[in-house]
Amino acid sequence: MADKTSANSYWAANIRIITVSLVIWFVCSFGLGILLRPALSGIHVGGADLGFWFAQNGSIYVFLVLIFVYAKMMNKVDRDHGVEE
């Protein structure tokens, strides 16, 4: 039974991290890059406005950081719950 509880809390922790990551994923691409571009047109990154830069370059950098942070956090969660390989 203890095993099952542990598995459940492991999965819940995983879902929490996934949810937060997907919110960031959504905000930096669909949010800043598309939906909020008109509202943020006053802010500039060099020669580009913020939304344009996120759509053509910035979102990709965020995606990269997101995956590596997720991989690192999950390694810790794996160990904490004793389910690492």
């Binding site: 598995a7 939906l35 020669g47 990709i60 991989a71 390989e85």
Partner: protein, 648 residues
């Protein structure tokens, strides 16, 4: 040494490398043939995934798409990278834990049904076969351009090369060749980009040059502002202009993202790593290697576009667009630095005609009124010249005169550089074709780089097309030999016979892809929209539900996949023609005719929602998945215990 010999040497050397690797990495078991023996490290797998993923379209066409589509076509940049976040978080680690060889195999086990597995096989085959056509065409075109052979010969050479390493090497051979192909293609893409960025902006990194100052005017004007000014002077939409349809842009991006995460040939790459944690990490490394090209692509596209525009309007470089006359034909033929224009004219990717006979090529965005009027004149003139000798010519001549008068009126109203077209003696845009692909293929010549860089771009284009083709062919052949033959028709087949069946399926898949490459249905761009839409609407949802739901059973999964498959393909066929046969579409492919303004390329997420909804509703009417399936779900959710893959 002439350019042809250089191309031959560089391409020949790259092929020798691929063959050498393939011989060294021969597959000796089904585990090696399907999943490279699960011994590929996360960084190496990331590099192989990047080559697997980046196709002829990414390498040759994407920069041009962005150059001419501007901000609107950012959908490709976000869509084709954001999918890796979904892969890393939602699919790759769990499918690696499951630890078998193919995507349909997971569907079959998780939904305890051979029928579900077969529906997944059908989806996989439709997606991968449509996708592979574009790659084969890309191989043929690149060969034809750089090795001066016909497209057909080029395609046949490409097929022979893939045959040599895919049939014998399987996933193992393909993986290590893809690593080599990645290195070739990324060097070929980045070198011209760095030079062009140094030229135009003084920045070594194209990513910084792109948002930096424009060098020829001392860096006081931003490069992007300069580009916007030059293209709007010529009547084009500004590069950074806002989208006209935010909702559609949102959906296309979503379709490309979830489509990427649902492409079987990408997913199976994550079966090759030793551990679950490696699968997560490997998606990150794949994106690192993909980002090296994708963050450079908008810089390449926008800079090449400015270069090509200022070539035709030399005044635009350091002053106003119209401060000097347009490029003259005499200059094109006498200036050796412009020899690329005639070279590319031969391939048909670039075309110009001196319509007004002033010896110069005026390049601008022809207003629709002028374009329509010019077409009316051409049609009337054609009718007159084709009329029978004894026919009454008077009404036809009158029609030509009327059309010409209407055209002259349109020219009097259309403005270019503050004067009407009529006042300048211009009758229309004279640079009649600028193909998207030229932005990458001709880039080294436009930027005046040495011959070996041009040869490298040729080898890079071939590497991109061949590596993706090989990955797709493996997905197709393993679905046939492992899911269809071993999974359904002959479950008692021995390991040795299955390996033979896998090699024969591979040979068969290559033959089919070659034939389709020689006789492509419709054109490649439409076909790719179908592949992404279907991956988004079928494979992605069924895998998600397989991992994250304990309630969805076989009935729901099968119904969901079928609804997603049918809804998406019918929506696309409605606008693009049934099976892409031109003229068989029910509705015109225009924004007004689209359902809620959703273009066919944007339908993927709608198909996915229909799939999810159908699966959940149908599942409430049937029994929940049995106990052993519940245990399977619990087991794939935790990394512990991931071992070597087992062949049942």
């Amino acid at each position: 040494m002439d350019q042809f010999t250089l191309n031959l040497l560089v391409i020949g050397a790259s092929f020798a490398l691929y063959f050498g690797i393939a011989f060294w990495a021969r597959a000796s078991s089904t585990a090696e043939f399907y999943a490279a023996g699960q011994g590929v490290g996360p960084v190496v797998n990331g590099m192989a995934t990047a080559a697997d993923w980046m196709s002829a379209a990414s390498f040759i066409s994407m920069a041009g798409l962005i150059a001419f589509g501007g901000y609107n076509n950012s959908v490709f940049l976000m869509g084709w990278t954001g999918g890796y976040v979904l892969l890393a978080l939602l699919l790759a680690p769990y499918l690696r834990k499951f630890g078998k060889f193919t995507v349909p195999e997971f569907v079959g086990d998780r939904f305890y049904s051979t029928s579900a597995r077969m529906v997944a096989v059908v989806c996989l085959l439709v997606i991968s076969i449509t996708y592979v056509i574009g790659q084969m065409v890309g191989v043929g075109v690149t060969f034809a351009r750089f090795l001066e052979v016909s497209t057909t010969t080029g395609l046949l050479i490409g097929s022979a090369v893939v045959f040599a390493y895919a049939v014998f090497g399987g996933m193992k051979g393909i993986t290590y060749t893809q690593v080599a192909q990645y290195i070739v293609l990324i060097i070929a893409y980045t070198i011209p980009a760095i030079f062009i960025s140094l030229n135009l902006t003084g920045h070594f990194l194209p990513q910084l040059g792109f948002i930096g100052g424009y060098a020829p005017t001392g860096g006081e004007t931003y490069f992007l502002d300069k580009l916007d000014q030059v293209v709007t002077d010529l009547g084009f939409t500004a590069y950074t202009a806002d989208t006209t349809n935010m909702f559609n842009m949102f959906l296309v991006t979503m379709s490309l993202m979830i489509g990427t995460a649902g492409l079987p040939h990408v997913i199976i790459r994550f079966f090759t790593v030793p551990k679950v944690s490696d699968a997560r990490l490997s998606a990150g490394w794949a994106l690192v290697f993909i980002a090296l090209l994708y963050t450079v692509a908008p810089a390449v596209g926008s800079m090449a576009r400015l270069n090509i525009t200022t070539t035709f309007w030399p005044g635009a470089i350091d002053g106003e667009t119209f401060s000097k006359p347009a490029l003259s034909i005499a200059e094109i033929d006498s200036n050796p630095e412009l020899s690329w224009i005639r070279n590319w004219e031969k391939t048909g990717l670039l075309a110009f005609t001196d319509k007004n006979g002033d010896g110069m090529i005026q390049y601008f965005n022809e207003p629709k009124a002028v374009a329509d009027a010019n077409k009316a004149v051409a049609d009337a003139t054609k009718a007159l010249t084709e009329a029978a000798a004894d026919a009454d010519k008077a009404p036809l001549e009158a029609a030509v005169a009327a059309a010409t008068a209407a055209r002259d009126a349109a020219l009097g109203e259309a403005m270019l550089g503050g004067q009407s077209l009529a006042a300048q003696g211009i009758v229309g845009n004279e640079l009649t074709t600028v193909n998207n692909d030229i932005m990458v293929l001709a880039n080294p010549e436009i930027a005046k780089l040495p011959g070996w860089v041009i040869a490298l771009v040729a080898a890079g284009g071939l590497a991109a097309a061949l590596s993706t083709a090989a990955g797709l062919l493996l997905a197709i052949s393993s679905a046939i030999s492992h899911d269809l033959i071993k999974g359904a028709l002959r479950p008692d087949i021995s390991e040795k016979s299955e390996l033979l069946a896998a090699r024969i399926s591979m040979a068969f898949a290559i033959a089919l892809a070659t034939w389709l490459g020689l006789n492509p249905p419709g054109f490649a761009a439409q076909v790719v929209a179908l592949a992404f839409g279907l991956a988004a609407a079928t494979i992605f949802p069924v895998l998600m539900m397989g991992i994250f739901s304990t309630k969805v059973g076989k009935e729901g999964a099968i119904a969901g996949m079928i609804v997603g498959l049918l809804a998406t393909s019918i929506y696309i066929f409605m606008y693009l023609g049934w099976f892409f046969v031109p003229g068989t579409n029910w509705l015109p492919n225009t924004p007004d005719a689209h359902w809620f303004g959703i273009s066919p390329a944007a339908f993927g997420p709608v198909g996915a929602l229909l799939n999810f909804a159908t699966a959940y509703i149908v599942s409430t009417m049937f029994k929940a998945p049995p106990r052993e399936v519940q245990e399977l779900i619990q087991s794939i959710r935790v990394p512990k215990g991931a071992g070597k893959a087992v062949a049942h």
